[in-house]
C-alpha cells in the first residue's frame, strides 16, 4: 500500500513544475514585461521562485529579494510550497485608496 502511494505520487508529480508569474506596476516596468512562465523544481517555495525570476528576466536583480507575493490571489509567505499550474504575483507596496 505504501509502495503504491509512492509510485502514484511520483507518477503525478514530475520533477519540475510550471508556474505563471505575474508582475505589476513598478515591477512590470523594471523588467519590461508583466508575465513570465517559470519552470521550477518540484516542491519549490515562493522564495525559490522569486530567486529564479530575478535571474531569468532582464534587470531582474533590480526586483527586491523579498517582495510581497500572492499565490493564486492569496497573500503568501516566502516558505509556501508551489504546485504545478499556480499563479504567483509579485506585488509592489500597495497603494489603494
Amino acid at each position: 500500500m505504501w509502495i503504491f502511494r509512492l509510485f502514484f505520487s511520483s507518477m503525478q508529480s514530475p520533477s519540475s513544475i510550471s508556474v505563471r508569474c505575474r508582475l505589476f506596476a513598478r515591477y512590470a516596468e523594471i523588467v519590461g514585461q508583466d508575465e513570465v512562465t517559470l519552470s521550477l523544481q518540484r516542491d519549490a517555495t515562493v522564495a525559490q521562485a522569486v530567486a529564479v525570476l530575478r535571474q531569468s528576466v532582464p534587470d531582474g536583480a533590480r526586483l527586491p529579494e523579498q517582495p510581497m507575493v500572492a499565490v493564486n490571489q492569496e497573500h503568501a509567505l516566502a516558505g509556501q510550497v508551489l504546485a504545478d499550474g499556480d499563479e504567483i504575483a509579485l506585488l509592489p507596496p500597495l497603494a489603494g485608496g
Binding site: F24, Q73, H75
Partner: protein
Amino acid sequence: MQYLVDAAIDVAQLIDMVSSDERGGTAAFIGSVRRGPDDGPVVGIEYSAYEAMVETQLDKIIARAAERWPQARVEVRHRIGRVATREASVAVVVGAPHRAEAFAACRYVVEQLKQRVPIWKREILETGERRWRTGDLSPEEHP
C-alpha cells in the same frame, strides 16, 4: 468586476444601497486624490490593479466583516485608471442598525483594503511625468 470602476463613484447611491428600514446608521469613508504641500504639481492619479485579486480579496474582507458585524451591509468601490485631483478614488460605505457597528465595520474594511488589496497609484504631474507612489508614504525611490 464588482468593486473596480472606471467612472465617478456615486456615494449617494451607495448610501441608499446599504440603508434600509432596519439599518439606520451609515458610516462612510471617501478617499479622494489629494495634493499635499510637498506633492508638487500633481494633476491626477492613475490607478492600476491586479484586478482578479482585488475582487477575491474584497470578497473575503467583506465576508469577514459580515461575520463580525452580521447586521451590517458593506459596499466598496475603487476607481481604476486616471482620476483627477479631488475626485473620489475609493468609497467604503456601511449601513448598520446602530452607529457603533457602522463606524467599526467601515474602519475595518478601509484598513484591510489598504493592507491587502493590490492596487497601485502613479501620480501624473503637470509636466506629463509620472511617479509611482506607495500607500500613505512618501514617493518610492526608483531603485
